[in-house]
């Protein structure tokens, strides 16, 4: 514990900034009910009210409090992005490690399936499937998680390939260990650093992807507060020189930058590079 603290304190300013921002987002997401002055769907005033003391950031196209919706948006957008990324990693890592460890036709089959999936542009593929299966939160997580597991598969397989040829994996095989032991105990711990870094980056992509889907109307559905759809709903205001639609966009941008800062630092630490 002490060591972790020391490590965190030694972080460069960019990573420190990133960690503080992420922490703030998490706190806001958890305590949204306490922080937000109004409810997520509550209509509190007229449309497009300017920022006053009552409405810190004004109101949106239906007269809902913008600040409260930003706060709830943190919970919805970020929460779903995290769940989706986790799903993508569980699926991608499992199959990636399976392909690397077993090799042969299993590797070939999984590899070709992923090739096919990756050949289709993700956004178009996502739109297509979501139009077919409908846009519930559950479907959203499942579809995006599945789509993003392909690149996780490729990374996990590539890094695991370097580990499965090492002698200690052969030792485990010759001992008669099962596949799950080899994957979980021998290979996985040795490829964690690149995977953790990838998790951060992938989270940003998923997060942006959900925002994009919401902006296009296929992501989180109204009246749920979501940053992507909030940009779309209030987009018209930009023509009047109002900054309201930029606020959720800025929230998205800030988190993406913050996560990237932390990931950079982490990669730097684990790669052992000095400069």
């Amino acid at each position: 514990m002490n060591e972790t603290w020391k490590l965190l304190k030694s972080a460069p300013p960019t990573a420190m900034f990133g960690m503080i921002v992420i922490l703030l987002y998490i706190l806001v997401a958890i305590f949204a009910d306490v922080i937000a002055p109004f409810g997520e769907r509550e209509i509190v005033g007229a449309q497009y009210e300017p920022a006053t003391e009552e409405w810190l950031l004004g109101t949106d196209n239906l007269g809902r409090d913008m600040w409260s919706r930003i706060v709830y948006g943190a919970r919805n957008t970020v929460g779903i992005a995290i769940l989706t990324t986790i799903l993508a990693f569980v699926v991608g890592c499992f199959f990636g490690l399976l392909a690397a460890t077993l090799g042969g036709w299993v590797d070939q089959l999984l590899g070709r399936i992923v090739d096919v999936l990756m050949a289709i542009p993700t956004l178009i593929f996502g739109l297509l499937i979501l139009t077919i299966v409908g846009t519930s939160v559950f479907n959203l997580i499942l579809v995006i998680g599945f789509l993003y597991s392909t690149s996780v598969f490729r990374l996990a397989r590539a890094v695991a390939m370097n580990v499965v040829v090492l002698d200690f994996v052969e030792v485990a095989k010759l001992r008669g260990e099962g596949l799950l032991y080899i994957i979980g105990k021998e290979v996985l711990p040795n490829i964690l650093p690149p995977l953790v870094a990838e998790f951060g980056l992938r989270f940003c992509f998923v997060f942006l992807f959900i925002a994009a889907l919401s902006f296009l109307g296929l992501g989180l559905q109204p009246p749920t507060a979501d940053w992507g759809s909030m940009v779309r709903d209030n987009a018209v205001l930009i023509t009047f020189g109002e900054s309201t639609p930029l606020i959720p966009a800025a929230a998205i941008a800030l988190l993406t930058v913050a996560v990237n800062f932390v990931v950079d630092w982490f990669l730097h630490l684990t790669s052992g590079l000095k400069d």
Partner: protein
């Protein structure tokens, strides 16, 4: 080499033989550290090298021998710097020389031959193009002269087909040939000094002889001074006029080669000299009983390339069988067939009278348990993310169903058995251990399974000689205590001499010859076996001369086998 030259063939002025060429005084080299004081790795060493002289630098890994060798051309590896002392090369103060000056010297007057020629040739260019690069760059000669010279030097280094071999790419020639090509390349500008950094360590013994002889000839012919860095005292005894023994960045002893071999003054030098004297007591007699392992007429192939052809040999209980041969002779492949990693295309493996399934996946736990394997690279054979407790404990719970206190106690007992203190080491990760300790952990892991046979694949070749000897002694003791049988794969014949009861010589995927150890080292056997077994360097400084004379005689009589690598 007796005549003293004042000008070389290019007409360049050269000093007299015996003049001081390199002088390093109180040389100190440090490593830069980010969050601590700089760490000194060479602590004030004096080196004097005269023209026409070969200086041997010898020591274990970490002794600073390569670092000192490179310092002669004012070069340090990444992260290091020369923190004190002086380096003087033929009157030039190297430490205060400009980069341009150093660039002029390096390659032209000082050349370097690295351990791994394969890693130091650019695979995308032909040998001769890489040879000519340096002379042309330094304005020493033009392209066609340099090419003519290359062919001549290739010939002097006894490369086959010297007129055409230069037009091949590095991957098209063998390791020994590449090493000789690199020596030729170092000679291309007729330098005053060549630094050889373990040039034969990665080579097979039979090839090593060729390279050693070639290097010595060329050094003699051109009256070049050389620094020869190696960990192998027997090799340096053939090459050097003068030896410096180094340890932990300090000089232990220095002196004339013959004098030092005859009467070492320091205890450490004595240890190094006696390192090959270990020999197990007694020789295991075999007869009547059933063999523990029987390799029966095994042939195998990688894909469509056949690599083993009808291999037969037996291993008896409590016996050590050494399988020797050059790289590519099929030693390790045989081990893979025995363990079931590579199912044979023909033949079978019998263990205690029972035929084992060819594929390890079809073998049951007890069949797997009885034959364990120890690898050459202990680094990669231990999972860096597991503690010693888990590494040794896993086979205990996996094979023997131990858990809790029983498993903990047995793990500690095993650590004691390999002479490592349980309290100190049980919670460490492999990266926190030295090379020898890692190999001990691998031994303990093999022992944990309570095997009857242990296959040792080059287990000592990555270790320093003193450490390697400790490991051999440990294996020998464990064999007596636990009645183990060893199948010992090695290319190091000194190891064979030390521990084997029975020797199997492999050549090109076949068993060339086999028999009890004592008989095997006495000719006559098959021509290849005699060639291989006579190639082990000995401490005697005249050994190489005598051997080459003997071989020249045999070759004249047409009785000598050629090395597989030539």
């Amino acid at each position: 080499m007796s005549e003293q030259t004042t000008t070389d063939e290019a007409g360049r002025e050269r000093g007299q033989k015996g003049d001081v060429l390199v002088e390093m005084r109180d040389l100190r080299i440090s490593v830069r550290q980010e969050d601590a004081d700089d760490f000194e790795i060479v602590h004030g060493v004096d080196v004097t090298l005269r023209r026409g002289e070969v200086l041997g630098l010898i020591g274990e890994s970490g002794a600073g021998k390569s670092t000192i060798g490179l310092a002669a051309m004012a070069y340090t590896r990444g992260g290091c710097y020369i923190s004190g002392g002086s380096v003087n090369f033929d009157g030039i103060d190297m430490l205060n020389a400009s980069d341009e000056q150093l660039r002029q010297l390096r390659g032209r007057r000082i050349a370097y031959v690295a351990q791994s020629a394969a890693a130091n040739f650019n695979p995308a260019h032909r040998l001769i193009d890489q040879f000519t690069e340096s002379p042309i760059l330094h304005g020493f000669s033009n392209k066609s002269d340099a090419e003519t010279d290359a062919k001549q030097l290739f010939g002097r280094l006894r490369l086959p087909d010297p007129d055409n071999i230069g037009y091949r790419y590095p991957h098209q020639v063998s390791g020994g040939q590449l090493q000789r090509a690199m020596t030729a390349m170092a000679m291309s500008c007729r330098p005053d000094l060549i630094i050889f950094d373990e040039p034969t360590t990665a080579l097979d013994v039979t090839t090593q002889i060729e390279v050693l002889a070639a290097i010595r000839d060329i050094v003699d012919q051109f009256n070049t001074a050389a620094i020869y860095v190696t960990h192998d005292l027997a090799v340096v005894a053939q090459m050097a006029d003068h030896i410096m023994v180094l340890r932990h960045g300090k000089l232990v002893e220095e002196g004339d080669t013959r004098e030092m071999l005859a009467g070492p003054k320091e205890e450490y030098t004595r240890q190094l000299l006696s390192v090959r004297s270990f020999a197990k007591e007694g020789e295991k007699e075999t007869g009547g009983e059933e063999p523990l392992l029987r390799v029966k007429n095994v042939s195998a192939s990688y894909g469509t390339t056949p690599v083993l052809f009808g291999v037969n040999f037996d291993v008896y209980r409590e016996q050590t069988v050494a399988v020797v041969g050059e790289s590519g002779s099929g030693k390790s492949t045989t081990a893979r067939v025995i363990t079931g990693l590579l199912p044979p295309s023909e033949g079978s493996i019998e263990f205690a009278g029972e035929t084992l399934p060819p594929d390890f996946r079809q073998r049951d736990k007890s069949q797997l348990r009885k034959a364990q394997m120890i690898y050459q690279m202990a680094d990669t054979a231990l999972n860096p993310r597991q503690k010693i407790r888990e590494i040794i404990g896993r086979p205990l719970s996996f094979y023997l169903g131990m858990s809790g206190k029983q498993r903990e106690d047995r793990t500690r007992e095993l650590l004691n058995m390999i002479e490592m203190d349980p309290d100190t080491y049980i919670d460490r990760y492999p990266t926190e251990l030295s090379g020898g300790q890692k190999q001990r952990i691998c031994i303990a892991r093999a022992l944990a399974a309570e095997p009857e046979l242990i296959i040792c694949d080059e287990v000592t070749s990555a270790l320093d000689q003193l450490v390697a000897e400790e490991i051999l002694k440990l294996l020998d003791r464990l064999q007596k205590e636990l009645h183990l049988a060893y199948m010992f794969i090695t290319h190091d014949l000194a190891t064979v001499r030390a521990i084997a009861d029975h020797v199997v010589v492999m050549l090109k995927g076949k068993v060339d010859d086999q028999g009890a150890k004592d008989g095997m080292f006495q000719p006559p056997h098959t021509p290849y076996t005699d060639l291989l077994l006579s190639s082990v360097p000995e401490m005697d400084p005249d050994w190489l001369d005598d051997l080459l004379a003997e071989r020249a005689r045999l070759r004249a009589e047409g009785k000598l086998a050629e090395s597989a690598d030539n």
